[in-house]
């Protein structure tokens, strides 16, 4: 028994010594840990490959980096918020541009200005991309991917309807006229779709509402006096577009109300030819390639696109003839990171021309750097649409105002409010959210 106890003691001592040595060796190896969060699938594969490349690069430089990756496939924003609320935010994270002001207000995100000032790569980001990640005179992220929206149409459907091709509308009237011809001549097809309703979330606001609102010259948030413009002729125009589209049976509400997993009827409808034309994010173009997720065998023959026109030439914001709305994703650093140097190195690596091009190739979208190689489609977009690109207001209250926009379009879509009524209800709701002193109404003639 005594001997047994002694044996135990020996084993114990031995274990402790081994552990201590092991820990010492590990510590001496200078392992650095970096926690990274980004929304997972379908970006997972591409981003993980990039992260592996970063780790390898550091290993070649003699530094062992362990990257702890957090990539929820669902509820990315919720999880990020939970992490920050529990004090375990990641060192580096991917963030959607419209979410930045909220994070800035929450003091969880670190301004990058002095780092950017010392970085040669920053000059290769066009001004629009630099401004997209700026809020309150500071820059908080490096955008790695951006997008825009255009009018996609089925050339075969339009041809069958008797619309002259190529379809290059310069006003809303031309769009309505083409839709009307589809309705009359190709009865089984939904003539057009512009996103509406709450199920699509932010998609409705940026892909749908803003593409119309900007086309009518609208401004939602007046930065000169920091007020929300809750009623304006442009807003009435945008809502009236919806009213006419749904009221004249030029579109269908049902696809916008499918339960979560099947909400993407619109994109699928374009692929099958069930929808004549639709305002959609440019990313879908790659998915319609013959080997894409919704491969169309003869894509270049049946599917085409045109820039979304303003209400009429020159009626758009800044007196533009066409409209583009940009969203985007950037890499940001949390204000609590204790590994700032490594985090910044990581952001630089992920924002290199190669990394940005790799991402756009693997996932879609438009590279944010002028020196990142890209494809012909993106180059055309850059020439024809990006000059008319505008962005959503950067404000912490934006997400809730945006939700009210979605609700307004839902009311119109379901036929429960006219454009004017929806706007009145919208104005009241926003007033309740941001306070009466922070809204203003422009006269409607």
């Amino acid at each position: 028994m005594v001997r047994y106890t002694r044996l135990l003691k020996l084993v114990f001592c031995f274990t402790m010594i081994t552990l201590a040595l092991g820990l010492g060796v590990v510590a001496a190896q200078d392992t650095q840990t970096l926690t990274v969060s980004f929304p997972g699938d379908p970006r997972s594969e591409t981003v993980n490959a990039l992260i592996d490349a970063f780790v390898e690069m550091k290993a070649e430089a003699g530094v062992t980096v362990e990257v702890v990756i957090n990539e929820p496939t669902e509820g990315y924003t919720d999880q990020l918020l939970l992490d920050f609320s529990a004090g375990v935010g990641p060192d580096v994270f991917s963030v959607s541009a419209d979410f930045l002001p909220d994070l800035v207000g929450s003091e969880v995100i670190r301004p990058l200005d002095e780092l950017l000032g010392a970085w040669a790569g920053w000059a290769n980001f066009p001004q629009g991309m630099q401004e997209m990640s700026a809020y309150n005179d500071a820059t908080y992220a490096v955008m790695y991917n951006t997008d825009t929206r255009v009018l996609f149409y089925r050339a075969d459907v339009l041809e069958q309807a008797g619309v002259e091709l190529p379809f290059e509308p310069t006003s809303w009237e031309e769009i309505f006229a083409a839709a009307e011809m589809i309705r009359q001549n190709v009865p089984d097809v939904i003539p057009m779709e512009v996103q509406a309703g709450t199920i699509w979330g932010e998609g409705t606001t940026i892909d749908g509402f803003f593409m119309l609102f900007r086309g009518a010259g609208g401004t939602l948030f007046d930065t000169s006096d920091n007020t929300w413009i809750v009623e304006s002729p442009a807003m009435l125009d945008a809502f009236s577009f919806y009213e006419r589209m749904f009221g004249d049976d030029l579109s269908a509400a049902e696809p916008f109300m499918e339960p979560e997993p099947w909400v993407f009827f619109l994109q699928e409808g374009l692929a099958n030819g069930d929808v004549g034309m639709a305002v959609v994010v440019n990313v879908v173009w790659g998915l319609y390639a013959p080997d894409g997720a919704w491969g169309i065998e003869n894509r270049d023959e049946v599917l085409s696109w045109a820039p979304m026109p303003a209400r009429e030439p020159g009626a758009g914001i800044n007196n533009w003839d066409f409209v583009g709305m940009g969203g985007g994703w950037g890499w940001a650093m949390s204000s609590t990171t204790d590994n700032e140097d490594l985090a910044w190195e990581f952001i630089q690596f992920m924002s290199s021309p190669d990394s940005i091009a790799t991402y756009a190739e693997g996932v879609g979208g438009i590279p944010t750097r002028v020196d990142a190689p890209t494809d012909a489609f993106n180059e055309t977009l850059a020439a024809e649409v990006l000059p008319f690109q505008s962005f959503r207001p950067a404000h912490p209250d934006y997400p809730r105002v945006s939700e009210q926009i979605q609700i307004a379009t839902e009311r119109i879509m379901l036929g429960e409010a006219t454009a004017a009524e929806a706007m009145t209800l919208f104005a009241e709701a926003v007033e309740a959210i941001v306070g009466a002193e922070n809204v203003k109404r422009l006269p409607i003639e």
Binding site: E71, T73, E74, L82, A86, V263, Q267, V284
Partner: protein
Amino acid sequence: MSSSWWARHSSTFVFFAIILFLFFGPISWLLLASINAEPGSAWQVPQQITLNHYIELFQESEIVLWLRNSFILGIGTMAVTIVLSTLAAYPLSRVPFRGKSVLMYTLLLARVLPITAVIIPIFSISVRFGLVNRFEGAILILSAMQLPISLWIMKGFVDSIPIELEESAWLDGCNRMQGLIRVVFPLMAPGVAVTGLFAFLAAWGDFLIPLVILRSPTNFPIAMGLYRAFGNQGSVDFGFLTALAVIYSLPSIFLYLVARQWLVKGMTAGSVKM
């Protein structure tokens, strides 16, 4: 079979037929689509039957890893719940102490809060205890959420075991502990079956706790794998989705079939005596 027999039972059969149609009809979509060479969201009899979706699942996805993770969660939660509720049920049933009924009802009510209301404190506590990104953490939380109902079932079950059985064991020279082990535990098998089945089903089907606690993809359970079916901008791979959903459902069904023989007994004891 006389015509009057039919007349008497026809309404029952109509009822059964409707129930069967309503309950099995939707599930049949899943089964049919998973073996359809061209699956879609519509219900259709496959023109061409194929097992390719299943084969591809095992060849091209990490389904083995997902299944492993889900089994760790399901079986772990089941084990923790069974052990803890069995241990606790005996004193809850046999030992009188002040505030017992208050305790029992507090347990029941505390679970009423929707998960959205309590996920924030649950997450904060997990962070404080270092449980994030660990299976132990997810298992403990899932077990804790399952324990109130399990304690109710198990307590009801011990209540239904006559104390006389134990007393006779004590007269035979057993002490209380031995009586518990020799007499009570064997009789609790049906209760264990119910508790275990409920715990497994809850853990196996849960989505939010693994999402919040088990963050790295190598820890993801099979529920998370379902999202692989949804590609960029929402393209849906119906073959992948339905085949994975079928495989995902099988262990639950299997466990139910195993536990079924004890289920009626277990629920009777738990329910008749409140």
